[in-house]
């Protein structure tokens, strides 16, 4: 009722949207469709990672260990959103009101290197409700083998902290990272000392043996993997070969881009995929494949072909500028795909 009245007479989708600019005067980052969170602490862990503790507003639905959230920060007037796994347990949230994100900073990124500039202690940002199904099984179960690569350790930190006390079956964590770049070592060592059924093996990037190597003392474990694509593919294949249940959590990693070379990419629109190259505009190529796209001027003026890019990188043909990896608006007539792209028309 209120939404319909708002739509008809105040011309906004939600009343909150109509009131938003006024409310922001009193409550920073108050935004329709988002939860607010206050920054409790933000500090670097080492050169590559930083730790961000957030205090979500009280209406935020509590997460389950292993879930992620969308973090939205206004950077120089622009709302930028990235997805991060919550690296702390629901138990910790109930006790302290805080959630922890461990964030890998990409030097050339448009989000992570600027976080310390735009997020100071006591500043506000937006988060989404927790999402994701990469969860530790709640019911009675057997052994578990976890394989983490690099920043893929984050969901396991939440899971271990939450669930180690609830199970007596063996849990083994193989954590692959460059020497000296293993995160939360102290935390993991403490857990290993406290729980006899938990064992922890930090190893170097080249030391990862075939999966069977780690199965000796585990009886048909469920395999969990989170890390770079190549690692997950390798673990998935080997798990299937050993007839083990396998779960993973993919997350995007910046790809190397060479614009001079002609490359082919997939464009996902709703449930369809279309093959495009990185040489011509997305609009031309989608039209050629008879996708129903609205065409306007074809030169980037009229915004008729504008749509939402959910993920992937595109390049603005006029300026050569690369887009964000996350969600943003693009004009199909003046962009080329640089990676696989997902859009909603």
């Amino acid at each position: 009722m209120i939404d319909t009245m708002t739509k008809w007479f105040l011309h906004h989708q939600q009343l909150a949207g109509y009131l938003e600019p006024i409310m922001q005067r009193f409550k920073p980052a108050w935004r329709a469709g988002f939860y607010r969170a206050e920054v409790a602490c933000i500090e670097p862990i080492n050169e590559k990672y930083l730790e961000l503790w957030l205090a979500p507003e009280s209406t935020w639905p509590i997460h389950k260990a292993g879930q992620h959230l969308e973090l939205t920060v206004e950077m120089n007037g622009q709302l930028r959103t990235r997805v991060f796994t919550i690296a702390s347990s629901p138990e910790q949230y109930r006790a302290s009101g805080l959630v922890r994100l461990i964030i890998r900073t990409h030097e050339l990124g448009r989000f992570t290197p600027h976080l310390t500039t735009y997020l100071a202690s006591e500043s506000w940002c937006n988060i989404s409700a927790p999402q994701g199904t990469f969860l530790f099984p709640q019911r009675k179960m057997g052994a578990t083998l976890m394989v983490a690569g690099g920043s893929g350790i984050t969901p396991f930190l939440a899971m271990l902290s939450q669930h180690l006390g609830e199970t007596c079956h063996p849990v083994k964590l193989i954590y692959i990272a460059r020497a000296g770049e293993h995160l939360a070592e102290k935390e993991l060592n403490t857990l290993a000392a406290r729980y006899a059924h938990f064992s922890y093996f930090p190893i170097g990037r080249t030391d990862f043996e075939p999966l069977t190597h780690y199965l000796n003392d585990l009886d048909a474990p469920v395999v969990y993997c989170c890390g770079p694509q190549a690692l997950m593919e390798q673990v998935a294949t080997q798990s299937r070969a050993a007839n083990l249940s396998y779960f993973d959590e993919p997350f995007g990693l910046a790809t190397q881009i060479n614009l001079a070379e002609r490359t082919e990419h997939a464009v996902k629109v709703a449930h369809h995929q279309y093959a495009v190259d990185n040489q011509r505009s997305l609009l031309d190529q989608l039209e050629q494949q008879r996708v129903s796209v609205r065409r306007g001027c074809g030169m980037g003026i009229c915004h008729q072909c504008q749509c939402v890019k959910k993920q992937g990188l595109v390049r603005d043909m006029r300026t050569g500028e690369l887009s964000d990896a996350g969600e943003s608006l693009i004009q199909l007539c003046v962009v080329q795909a640089v990676t696989d792209v997902e859009i909603t028309l």
């Binding site: 007037g77 709302l79 915004h303 608006l329």
Partner: protein
């Protein structure tokens, strides 16, 4: 201008655009949100004061002016510019060109389609840009003189008074939708049924809001509120019509033929935009109330540049125009408006 000069001309304008867009950021986001906040304050205080007409007409009069200001700001500085996509870079759902809707009879998405595409791509091309004369007025020799042009000044005044309905009817291409007239060189992306539905549903909601809902809420002061809304809408109509006419129909503004835009280079396109627009001079508040259509030339050169930057780029654009000897049509409001009235009168005769 020869092709070489046109290329250099385009390059100079592209440079202005690139260097300005590089600066766009927090100040521009803060600016548009500040404008939105003022719009809300004006609207709320205006609507409250209308009720006070019950008590003294002076407060009612102030209420009318505040409400008219709110509607003008909503339509011009926020609606028009947001729907051009000028603030899409903010990724803010409330300021997005694809979802924004405004406080005017014309359906936002219908307007977005016709205005951004037809008018901005084919500015002042007779036969393609239907905004030239709105199909009602003869404003150049490109149109054959008809007897009805004799009283087109009265037609113009009526159009101004009912401008929001005029825009709504016109942007819908209503003569085609309702009368079944066809034009060969246009393909309808949206069905006539859909256009009709939008025309009636948006129009009806606007009527219900201003002339039923708010008067009802005011109880015994309903007549003051109804009257206040009527006058506020009238003031808004007169203002927007006047400003828009000053942007395209001053005497020096030129028209083009369909052949002019075939295989047009960027330089030619810029050149056509330059000759097809005229500016108004004034103070900052005046620019804001015109939705920066006072910087019509800059707006037509860079339609998706945030309006918060038009005043800043105007002198740079003027300098480039001077360098290439391109006329930069600008002047104070009364002079430009006088020139518009003269043009309407001039072409009412054969």
């Amino acid at each position: 201008m020869n092709e070489q000069n046109l290329m250099a001309f385009a390059k100079d304008l592209d440079d202005i655009k690139a260097s300005t867009l590089a600066k766009v950021g927090q100040t521009d986001a803060d600016y548009i949100r500040r404008v939105v906040r003022r719009q809300r304050y004006f609207e709320w205080s205006g609507r409250l004061l209308l009720v006070a007409g019950f008590w003294t007409p002076w407060l009612w009069a102030i209420g009318v002016i505040l409400l008219a200001l709110a509607k003008i700001i909503d339509n011009m500085e926020i609606g028009h510019n947001v729907m051009h996509g000028q603030y899409d870079w903010m990724n803010d759902k409330q300021l997005n060109s694809k979802t924004y809707e405004w406080d005017i009879a014309c359906d936002g998405q219908s307007w977005n389609r016709v205005h951004n595409f037809e008018h901005h791509t084919y500015t002042n091309i007779i036969g393609k840009d239907r905004d030239f004369g709105y199909g009602l007025l003869r404003l150049s020799n490109d149109f054959r003189w008809r007897v009805k042009n004799l009283w087109q000044f009265v037609t113009y005044l009526l159009l101004s008074v009912l401008f929001q309905w005029g825009v709504s009817y016109h942007e819908l291409a209503a003569e085609r939708v309702f009368m079944g007239k066809k034009k060969a060189n246009r393909d309808g992306k949206v069905s006539h049924e859909e256009l009709k539905r939008r025309f009636f549903s948006k129009g009806a909601r606007q009527l219900v809001k201003d002339y039923v809902l708010f008067p009802l809420l005011a109880g015994p002061a309903w007549l003051w509120v109804l009257g206040g809304n009527l006058v506020a809408n009238l003031l808004r109509n007169l203002w927007t019509s006047t400003i828009i006419f000053c942007g395209h129909f001053t005497e020096a503004v030129q028209t083009f033929k369909e052949a002019d835009c075939v295989n047009e280079s960027q330089g030619q396109w810029y050149f056509r935009q330059a000759l097809g627009s005229s500016n108004l001079q004034g103070k900052h508040w005046f620019h804001v109330l015109t939705g920066h259509l006072s910087c019509q030339i800059e707006h037509h050169l860079f339609p998706d540049m945030p309006s918060s930057r038009y005043q800043e780029v105007a002198p740079q654009v003027q300098a480039v125009f001077a360098k290439y000897d391109v006329p930069y049509n600008t002047g104070p409001f009364w002079r430009q408006y006088g020139s518009v009235l003269k043009r309407i009168l001039r072409y009412s005769l054969p």
